[in-house]
């Protein structure tokens, strides 16, 4: 439990102020007043899931968009990856292709899996997610 306590504290203090507010909002929706209310191991996994959704999954989403674009291009007019642009919260244009290239360099999913292996918690993290599905309100 000592590891979970210290690791949770490291992750929580690493989050930006904005991310802490987002986390708190999500916790409130789950009827949890603050992260300290959770048992240290659950606190660690909850923070870990937050990081996974905020930082890791984007790689999978971007790759999935590109697969879908290929499928659309084969059925209709050519739709090239470099043609897709979105605006961020500051109204700055972001090219999805540039984003994919930068994500490919960093490989977040692989970093995430490595950490789970290194701290020997792959199974426990899966169990945590399964448990959330079944008995989420009891944590």
């Amino acid at each position: 439990m000592e590891f979970f306590k210290e690791a949770s504290s490291l992750i929580y203090h690493w989050l930006t102020e904005e991310e802490r507010v987002q986390l708190l909002t999500e916790l409130h929706d789950e009827d949890i007043r603050n992260i300290e209310e959770l048992r240290p191991d659950m606190r660690f996994f909850r923070l870990f899931h937050f990081i996974q959704v905020k930082y890791i999954k984007v790689e999978e989403w971007v790759n999935s968009i590109f697969r879908n674009l290929e499928s659309i291009s084969s059925k209709s007019s050519n739709f090239f990856a470099e043609d897709l642009v979105f605006k961020d919260a500051n109204d700055k244009n972001v090219s999805l292709l540039d984003l994919q290239e930068r994500l490919t360099d960093i490989r977040p999913q692989s970093i995430f899996r490595n950490l789970l292996e290194q701290v020997e918690l792959q199974e426990q993290f899966k169990l945590y997610l399964d448990h959330l599905k079944k008995r989420w309100h009891e944590w």
Partner: protein, 193 residues
Amino acid sequence: MVTKTQRLQFVNNFLSAMHMLRPLVASSRNERVFELFCYFRKVDELTKRGKTPLLQNIRNHRFVPHSKPGNPLSASYISFQEAKGETFDLFLNAKFQGRSGAEHSPDIVLRETRSEKILSIYECKNHSGTLGLNYYREFVGYLEEMRIPKRRHNLTFRNLYPELRPCIYTSAIASPSSNQMRNQYDFDVIEQL
């Protein structure tokens, strides 16, 4: 067996690597990518159901959909043509007037081109943990405001056109207590995306 100190060092190294990712997901980019992911997932689904996708409002060879609520026709979107000649439009972040007169912008809207009738809506919830019941209540409000009554997607209709079933896409886990609401109001929840 790894020691506690080693494990904490691994966590520290992981956070340093995440630091490089921060600029890529900052300024709501992560949320925007999730919406695009859900949008193109629906595009792919409709295409696989035999509808031909056509890109609309391309600007300088670029597909730029709305990132915040706006007029449906003032940004890029995809329309679909059916074999019978009917067309449908799939909008991202477009604003529509609800039954009450208030304006709403469900994340993704499928609309019949000619009649401008909204056929279905899809919400994208980029959350971790479990998705609170408040989001399901909000979705039910959208269904009512967007005039998507249950009868329009009854069993026969849904079997013929499953892609029209309203849906919440989420990266979170759907709470078990949401099942009653999904059944009662007849919508899907696709979780852990």
